[in-house]
């Protein structure tokens, strides 16, 4: 028999968002329990492992060679006819930075949470929420298959893309077909990747998404794809598009696959609601992935810090109400919402550009010394070289 448990703050899921929340709630003095259904935190990896780095300091993560594979200088965007637009770190506003070892990274964040005082239970899955008087007061769970209950005034759903906790509690997190990408990735060795860049291939090679090459070392890279669900017609299209792309690129078709990773990525506008009485959602569970880049690690961690702090204060004050949780709802929105919304709009428009227009835009930017990739500079370059597409492109911007 597993005993029923009680805690102040209960975190479901030990990914980056969960561990960050647990750490900051524990640091603020709350009794914290984080449960994870897997037997090993961070494994198997479901990630391309690329991340920016300017936010790490803000959330108290110290960069470490234990989880950093390479530090890249920039990103290269390949248009449909493979004209290249190079964006260095300064242009990209730090969108690129490290390629990491996600399992080691996730474990480090869990270690930080544990060291801050959070309890952690593995092989422990939430199977439903417990509601009393319309409030979430904990979860039903299973540990090594045995059912038990965990009660807490504050429950946090950090259960990732699968995100059932929110739906069990009645928060609508369903995604429209166009707001989700189906993803597949191989880790490949014996490839000709360039460790200075994260590469992105856009256009019909990956409808509504892109192919990515994130280098992990000389000759070793994550080669993956995301395709928008609304553009998929049959089965296994992510795999078919990725295999077709690899077959056309000798630098990668000679490679050997050593790992396969699948997954879903939300590319939606921000959710309208991420809290209810007794419950807050954070990270992928709250659909906080950047809809343009598909990156979710940074946003999950940034929101996690805010969430942990509010959770601890709500538990201490005995006020785990949705009114109190507005501090989190507002806090993460102030920090992230505008960019999420802007990037969602940009993604929507990017998906609507024809391959021809996209080629011309990237071509127009070739050799143009762009001190900064401002809207004005890009528009001017396009207008000078391809006046005929200026109109379509202006509408885009």
């Amino acid at each position: 028999m597993v005993q029923d448990l009680k805690t102040d703050v209960l975190v479901i899921g030990a990914g980056p968002a969960g561990s960050m929340t647990a750490k900051w709630a524990a640091k603020a003095g709350a009794r914290v329990l984080m449960i994870e259904k897997r037997q090993e935190i961070g494994s198997p990896v479901r990630c391309g492992e690329g991340m920016s780095k300017d936010w790490l300091n803000e959330v108290g993560i110290a960069p470490s060679t234990r989880w950093i594979n390479v530090e890249v200088e920039g990103a290269r965007i390949f248009s449909p006819s493979e004209k290249v637009l190079e964006i260095n770190e300064r242009h990209a506003g730090n969108e690129v930075g490290y390629v990491v070892e996600r399992d080691a990274f996730d474990k480090q964040l869990a270690i930080d949470a544990g060291n801050a005082g959070a309890e952690i239970l593995l092989k422990t899955a939430a199977t439903g929420v417990i509601k009393e008087g319309g409030k979430v007061v904990g979860v039903r769970a299973k540990q090594f298959g045995e059912p038990f209950e965990i009660r807490a005034p504050v429950t946090i759903g950090a259960d990732g893309f699968e995100s059932q906790v929110g739906r069990w509690a009645g928060i609508p997190t369903n995604l429209a077909l166009r707001d989700m990408d189906s993803c597949l990735q191989y880790r490949m060795t014996n490839v000709d990747c360039d460790v200075r860049y994260c590469d992105f291939y856009l256009g019909k090679v990956a409808p509504g998404g892109y192919v990515w090459i994130f280098p992990k070392a000389d000759g070793l890279a994550n080669v993956g794809i995301g395709v928008q669900l609304s553009q998929i017609k049959g089965m296994a299209e992510a795999r078919q598009y990725l295999d077709a792309w690899i077959a056309k690129h000798p630098a990668y078709s000679k490679g050997k696959k050593i790992d396969v990773v699948g997954g879903g990525v939300s590319i939606s506008p921000p959710l309208k609601q991420t809290v209810t009485d007794g419950l807050m959602l954070v990270g992928d569970a709250a659909r906080m992935i950047d809809p343009l880049t598909g990156g979710g690690i940074a946003n999950g961690c940034i929101a996690g810090k805010i969430c942990g702090d509010v959770a601890a204060r709500a538990a201490a004050a005995g006020t785990p109400s949705k009114e109190f949780f507005q501090q989190y709802e507002k806090g993460w929105r102030v920090r992230l919402e505008e960019k999420l919304y802007r990037n969602w709009l940009a993604k929507e428009k990017l998906c609507s550009l024809s391959d021809e227009t996209f080629d011309k835009v990237v071509d127009a930017l070739q050799g143009v010394k762009l001190e900064k990739l401002t809207v004005h500079n890009i528009l001017k370059a396009v207008r000078d070289k391809y006046p005929e597409i200026t109109k379509e492109f202006e509408a885009f911007i």
């Binding site: 259904k37 189906s182 669900l229 296994a236 699948g262």
Partner: protein, 63 residues
């Protein structure tokens, strides 16, 4: 439900990579993934086929 098509998730490991994409998209929340075990609630499923599209490797078939 006599007229329902059958939905099969090939979750023995031959196709499925246990990525949870189907779990996250199912509008009725009727798929559950635990490490390498998938549970699927036949009674709730409306055969909307969203999970079929979401599965990156083609492990879900409706026939």
């Amino acid at each position: 439900m006599p007229n329902k098509k059958s939905l099969h998730i090939e979750s023995s490991g031959q196709l499925c990579v246990y990525c949870g994409a189907c779990v996250g998209v199912c509008p009725l929340n009727c798929i559950y993934l635990d490490e390498t075990r998938i549970t699927f609630d036949e009674r709730i499923c409306t055969r909307c086929e969203i999970c079929v599209k979401a599965c990156p490797v083609g492990a879900i078939e409706i026939g």
